[in-house]
């Protein structure tokens, strides 16, 4: 299937619910994984993969495709969910996540499943890869756009700032980076563990076009930010999404404990019930 397509507001909300159910069920089935940061990234992935990226799920290596690189690669539940839901592979395999023999590795391999551009999991590295792809395309005069999804944890790594420096140096305006800024990491509040604020000022000082989205889990705000970014030229663009870790599952929201822990049977049931209820609300909207 070829993208981008246009979704109605209702369809966007339903796709987000679907992804959240996938995330809860995948981590529950695996008995491990990272639900918190997966849930915070849902809206930007739904909008970007369905409505922004020029991709063809029947031809994943299509030469004219836009590139989307995951820099926060621990959110494989979200990554595999969105790739399956746009049609790169059969969603029925999502329950093999993290299991022996599955293509759905705990952190992604470059070679599978379809739709994955680059392996990852070691933080700080893939922002570098992302801008390298943007540089390579620009150097060859190609028009493909490059998108990356990073997080403030990823931005604690020095390698990320080297990448931010060189993307600006080479004026990579074919590059747009999303920061899923959910303020929590494994050991607690980011500002208690190792402060990264003010992220917007830092990107500005590194000569990036910087856009801040107040509610990074709100489709309208994400859509407006990407439209604004599309008008900016000459420099790389960052869209900082203020998100909620664990978004959409009330007992996981804003709780660092859900960074890398799977829901047990009862918690899974509770989460799915909550998501089903929201789904019904959306359907009757």
């Amino acid at each position: 299937m070829k993208y981008p397509i246009t979704l109605t507001p209702k369809e966007r909300l339903l796709k987000a619910i679907q992804m959240r159910k996938d995330i809860v069920e995948m981590t529950h089935a695996a008995g491990s994984g990272h639900p918190g940061g997966s849930l915070s990234s849902v809206e930007v992935l739904v909008h970007t993969f369905f409505e922004v990226l020029k991709i063809d799920t029947d031809n994943p290596k299509w030469e004219d495709r836009d590139y989307f690189i995951f820099c926060k690669c621990h959110i494989t539940p979200a990554i595999y969910s969105i790739l399956a839901r746009v049609g790169y592979f059969d969603p029925s395999t999502l329950n093999t996540f993290r299991k022996f023999g599955s293509e759905l590795q705990g952190h992604p391999s470059r070679f599978y499943p379809k739709g994955i551009e680059m392996s990852g999991g070691s933080l700080g590295q893939n922002l570098s890869i992302t801008q390298g792809i943007a540089l390579g395309l620009k150097a060859q005069g190609k028009a493909n756009r490059v998108y990356g999804l990073t997080s403030e944890g990823d931005l604690q790594e020095g390698n990320s700032w080297e990448a931010i420096m060189s993307a600006a140096h080479y004026r990579l305006d074919n590059l747009t980076v999303f920061v899923d800024y959910n303020k929590l990491q494994i050991d607690g509040n980011v500002e208690d563990v190792m402060g990264v604020a003010p992220l917007d000022e830092k990107f500005k000082a590194f000569n990036w076009h910087t856009i801040v989205v107040n509610d990074g889990n709100n489709f309208d705000e994400i859509i407006a930010a990407i439209k604004q970014a599309d008008t900016l030229t000459g420099r790389p663009k960052v869209i900082i999404l203020n998100t909620i870790k664990g978004k959409g599952v009330s007992f996981m929201e804003n709780n660092a404990g859900w960074h890398g822990k799977a829901p047990n049977d009862d918690e899974c049931k509770l989460a799915i019930e909550e998501l089903n209820k929201k789904e019904q609300e959306i359907l009757t909207m």
Binding site: S109, R110, F111, E117, M118, S119, G120, G121, S122, G124, Q125, N126, S128, I129, T130, Q131, G132, I133, A134, L135, G136, L137, A139, Q140, K142, G158, N159, E162, A163, M165, S166, H169, Y170
Partner: protein, 315 residues
């Protein structure tokens, strides 16, 4: 000792890059503010749009190269061996090797022969830390011609390749016409009493040691093991079957280096008495290259002595 022409190995690297640049528009070069020293400045002059100075930020340089390779380019990454292999080791491991990306590494300034810059700049661990990486090819050419051939050959391999070369002029022991094949050791001199296997600048030292031994009626076989990985098992096993003992020689830590790679093969296939010449768990220091090679026991003299010792250990 034989008189030999002296040439820069890094010139071999630079000349190969120029040749590749002419032949293949996909070839690009990245350096980390050391282009004048690594001689990638020559490529930069000729192909300015295909040269990227990444500043003093090696981790990003490696992964930028990874990104470039994902767009179909063939990046050659250049800086001193210490920084390329050490500073950015995990980038090479996880992005380049696990991702099987088509990135080539030129590790300049290998060994104590870097000289006055001292220990911080003398790479002595790269063979060890590069050869343990799955998918990686590791080549340590012996002279100008072999460096040039190794770089040209690396462009034909679809995957990561690390080539180590030095700062100083070193004796030329091969010719422009000597056949070169990645993974195929070169028998520089046939012999029956002891096998001497060396890489890099130590190949010339090994030939000199063999000459000394010959005067005493000892017939040494000298193997130029330019490719450490994949290692030429057959050449090693066949040689020690004939000679019954072996000495390894490298300008590198003995721990985990070329010699270790050789003994990993022999211990599992055909064990014979062995001795090693190399850095003995030590850093280097400032000095003239030859002074340092002598101080750290990296000359024909140690190869000669270890050869006699290992022969005496034969049953």
């Amino acid at each position: 000792m034989a008189e030999r022409e002296m040439l820069l190995t890094r010139q071999g690297w630079a000349d190969a890059l120029l040749e590749l640049g002419e032949k293949d528009p996909r070839v690009v070069v990245l350096d980390a503010d050391l282009a004048k020293s690594t001689l990638t400045s020559l490529f930069k002059e000729k192909f300015p749009k295909r040269f990227f100075d990444m500043g003093i930020a090696e981790q990003n340089m490696i992964n930028t190269a990874g990104g470039l390779s994902l767009t179909g380019l063939i990046p050659f990454v250049s800086t001193y061996g210490v920084f390329v292999s050490g500073r950015a080791w995990e980038q090479i491991r996880t992005s380049i090797c696990y991702g099987e990306l088509n990135v080539k590494f030129g590790g300049a300034h290998g060994g104590v022969s870097v000289g006055p810059d001292g220990a911080t700049h003398q790479a002595l661990e790269e063979i060890t830390i590069m050869r343990v990486l799955p998918k990686m090819t590791v080549i340590v050419p012996s002279d100008y011609y072999e460096t040039k051939k190794a770089i040209l050959a690396s462009a034909k391999i679809n995957g990561p390749v690390y080539v180590r070369f030095g700062r100083e002029k070193v004796p030329v022991v091969t010719t422009a016409d000597t056949p070169f094949e990645v993974g195929k050791a070169i028998i520089m001199k046939e012999g029956k009493d002891v096998t001497i296997v060396a890489c890099g600048a130590m190949v010339a030292e090994a030939l000199d040691a063999a000459e000394m031994l010959e005067k005493e009626g000892i017939n040494a076989e000298v193997i130029n093991l330019h490719t450490i990985k994949p290692i030429d098992k057959d050449a090693l096993i066949n040689s020690v079957k004939k000679t019954g003992c072996i000495v390894t020689a490298e300008e590198h830590q003995m721990a985990g280096g070329m010699g270790s790679a050789v003994f990993e093969v022999l211990a599992q296939n055909y064990s014979v008495p062995g001795e090693m010449v190399g850095m003995n768990d030590s850093f280097g220091e400032s000095g003239q290259p030859r002074e340092l090679m002598v101080k750290y026991g990296l000359t024909f003299k140690e190869i000669y002595e270890k050869s006699k010792k290992v022969i005496s250990r034969k049953k």
